[in-house]
């Protein structure tokens, strides 16, 4: 299992049922985080790391701002008129990647470690973005000693109080896609989450129930 720290200044994660107003999910969906990790290691086939498990904890709840922009007609099948778009600001989170259930050759864990430590060995193009290509990632770093790193973070930033878990929960208030069908919606899969309001300093690996398995529903 590896721990990544990811910072994205702004991004928009358009809700599946959002039409003329491009609402955003309140957190980056696991499906999008998985996509970003695949992009980082230069993987083009989504199913290649099916079975990997992700756990997410946020420094704070990202704020939502609303702007007027033009949407991509090609991407969303809408006319190129302007529309209100919601954008998440200040996305700062930890992502634990557990590849113990992966079965296809080299694990995502190993490839991510390689991509961060020796990026010259990775064959990929473009900048790393979380979702849309305009939503560039500011920082992805590998955290080897989380307790030590958290302690330093507390010293640097007096306002930092800890991390807020995004817990998978059957009756949670937040629904996020964990696999997106880009053609229709038949294979889109969701999971419900609850945002932990009280921050915690995390010193150990997450428990099993904090992980979301990313599994290709097409088999």
């Amino acid at each position: 299992m590896i721990t990544l720290h990811i910072e994205v200044p702004y991004a928009s994660f358009r809700k599946s049922y959002a039409r003329s107003l491009a609402e955003t999910y309140p957190f980056p969906p696991p499906a999008t985080v998985y996509g970003m990790l695949l992009s980082l290691v230069g993987e083009r086939f989504r199913a290649n790391h099916s079975g990997v498990k992700l756990a997410l904890a946020f420094a704070r709840q990202p704020r939502i701002s609303r702007t007027l922009r033009r949407m991509s007609g090609a991407k969303y099948g809408v006319s190129r008129t302007p529309d209100f778009i919601e954008t998440l600001c200040g996305i700062d989170f930890l992502c634990w990647v557990d590849s113990s259930q992966e079965t296809n050759g080299r694990t995502l864990e190993a490839r991510l470690t390689e991509a961060i430590i020796t990026p010259e060995r990775v064959n990929r193009t473009g900048i790393v973005s979380l979702g849309l290509s305009d939503d560039a990632v500011d920082d992805i770093s590998l955290i080897s000693d989380l307790p030590d790193w958290s302690e330093k973070l507390c010293q640097w930033n007096g306002n930092f109080q800890g991390w807020h878990w995004l817990n998978p929960q059957n009756n949670g208030q937040i629904e996020l896609p964990i696999w997106v069908d880009h053609v229709g919606a038949f294979h889109t899969r969701w999971r419900r989450y609850q945002f932990e309001e009280s921050p915690l300093l995390i010193y150990s690996e997450p428990e099993e129930d904090k992980f979301t398995p990313i599994v290709d529903p097409r088999g």
Partner: protein, 503 residues
């Protein structure tokens, strides 16, 4: 092939729309009672709904029968949704629901063809003849035939429903692009219109001229409890007439106010244990300059109904949420809401702003300021509901100083034989201008200290003596400028002579 569908509230693939739609389906099944459609067996439990048909009817035929029994029209060609439990005699409420649905789920004429315009007479509380309300009749509407979803149109072997169908605007409003989903989901989402109360918006503060109507989508957590609560709130035996039995109750200032009204109605004492929802999402449909053909989704807002200063909204709702009918130039009756204060408070609470934020908009002009006098009772009740100690201290200090100022004005009126009322009015107007013209935190704090000192002829007034430290910290923090300004304006219009000020 017979129909056999089981929907579970805990299905991880269900969004808030699916859960609300499931609530609508459960409510419809409850409304059917023992009059279920022929060949259909429907069962609603706390967390699941089962739809089954007998072997002798096909899937498509079963879906047709379910839709026919769920989406009806009255003899007056008004939309009739049994799952909403609206009393037969509440014709004005039916018109409000009809209008709301036409502005949201059924925007396009092709989804609800009909040409005739009918009028109903609105009767007052004393059964006297009142105004006439007109509405456009409907011959048939999209929900009745799952229009253009492929659910019933697409040919399939054994007359089965196809594996996938299309989600149309009448299921999830605001649709521009098509969205494909499993047929069972498309059928389920048709019932969203039943679970979601619709409101007509008359905004004055936020999004004026844009917002037209809104849908309140409840986040359903228990189907049976939700159904019982809806029946209790909307049904013929409802004691909550404020929410259910008046056209004007469906006319509100903003989406947040609509959502909070719904939450209040559904959380009221006698249905508190039956609530079955954990919050609401309000979706605003409004005009946008780049699309004149339809009302677009222009905002969504999540409302929990659990805010620290919720009592202020409750007071505003109780005393200031009222509407009235006016006639336009053509002589048609049009409903408006009389006060923008509940709209402002609800919008602030939902956005987690200070409850009084932007209050200055409501007293920006002299006419608006004068009109506030008609809302004094409600404003006083709002003042009494404030919990925040800093807010209370500022308002108390202002009221004490204003009382002393008025005493001086009274003496002057007596000595010089002037009209006391006029003197007070002029002074109030001067204060309003002075507060609004203060552009920096220092100017505002300086003005307030001078106002208090002038009132007491230099002596410290009692609220200042008691809350000196709290007031000092609040006033001289530049971050509090907007809040301070809005609170002073609120204090100016919410004064009432009571014993609390006589210290």
């Amino acid at each position: 092939m017979a129909l056999n569908i089981e929907y579970r509230l805990t299905d991880p693939n269900f969004t808030i729309y699916h859960r609300a739609a499931l609530g609508g389906l459960a409510a419809t099944i409850t409304a059917w009672s023992d009059k279920q459609p022929d060949g259909i067996t429907a069962k609603a439990e706390h967390d699941r709904v089962i739809l089954q048909s007998s072997e002798d009817i096909s899937e498509k035929e079963a879906v047709k029968r379910i839709l026919e029994a769920s989406f009806r029209l009255t003899d007056d060609k008004l939309i009739d949704l049994p799952g909403q439990f609206i009393d037969e005699n509440s014709l004005d409420l039916k018109v409000a629901v009809h209008e709301g649905l036409c502005l949201t789920f059924l925007q396009h004429n092709k989804m609800r063809p009909g040409k005739e315009v009918k009028k109903i007479e609105l009767k007052g509380a004393d059964d006297e003849s009142g105004d006439f309300l007109s509405y456009k009749t409907i011959d048939v509407y999209a929900h009745q035939k799952a229009q253009k979803t492929d659910l019933l149109e697409k040919k399939q072997p054994n007359d089965a429903i196809p594996p996938t169908a299309m989600i149309r605007q009448f299921a999830v409003p605001g649709a521009v692009a098509l969205l494909e989903a499993k047929s069972e989901e498309v059928l389920l989402l048709s019932f969203l219109a039943i679970a979601c109360p619709t409101f007509l918006l008359r905004p004055k503060v936020y999004q004026p001229d844009i917002a037209q109507a809104c849908i309140v989508v409840p986040d359903v957590t228990d189907l049976k409890k939700f159904t019982r609560a809806m029946r209790s709130v909307m049904g013929e035996n409802s004691k909550m007439k404020r929410f259910s039995h008046r056209y004007l109750e469906r006319v509100v200032g903003g989406a947040e106010e609509a959502a909070l009204r719904f939450m209040i109605a559904i959380s009221a004492d006698n249905v508190a244990s039956e609530r079955g929802i954990s919050g609401c999402q309000a979706v605003v449909m409004g005009k946008v300059p780049w699309d004149v053909n339809q009302k677009n989704r222009s905002m969504t807002v999540r409302v929990s109904g659990d805010y620290p200063e919720m009592d202020i909204f409750l007071a505003a709702h109780q005393y200031l949420s009222s509407g009235k009918f006016i006639k336009n130039k053509k002589g048609d009756t049009f409903a408006i809401n009389t006060s923008a204060i509940p709209e402002l408070i609800a919008a602030n609470l939902a956005a987690e702003r200070h409850w009084c934020s932007q209050f200055k908009i409501l007293v920006q002009t002299k006419e608006d300021f004068k009109r506030m006098n008609f809302s004094r009772e409600g404003l006083v009740k709002m003042k009494e509901a404030i919990k925040d100690l800093e807010d209370r201290a500022i308002i108390q200090a202002f009221h004490k100083a204003w009382e002393m100022t008025m005493a001086k004005l009274g003496e002057r009126a007596q000595d010089q034989g002037l009209d006391f009322g006029r003197l007070v009015e002029v002074r109030q107007e001067k204060i309003r201008n002075e507060i609004l013209r203060a552009k920096t935190p220092d100017t505002l704090a300086g003005w307030f200290l001078r106002f208090c000192a002038d009132a007491s002829s230099g002596a410290a007034i009692k609220p200042f003596q008691e809350e000196m430290e709290r007031l000092r910290r609040f006033m001289f923090n530049p971050r509090n400028f907007d809040r301070f300004q809005n609170l002073l304006l609120f204090a100016l219009v919410s004064y009432s002579s009571d014993k609390k000020n006589n210290n």
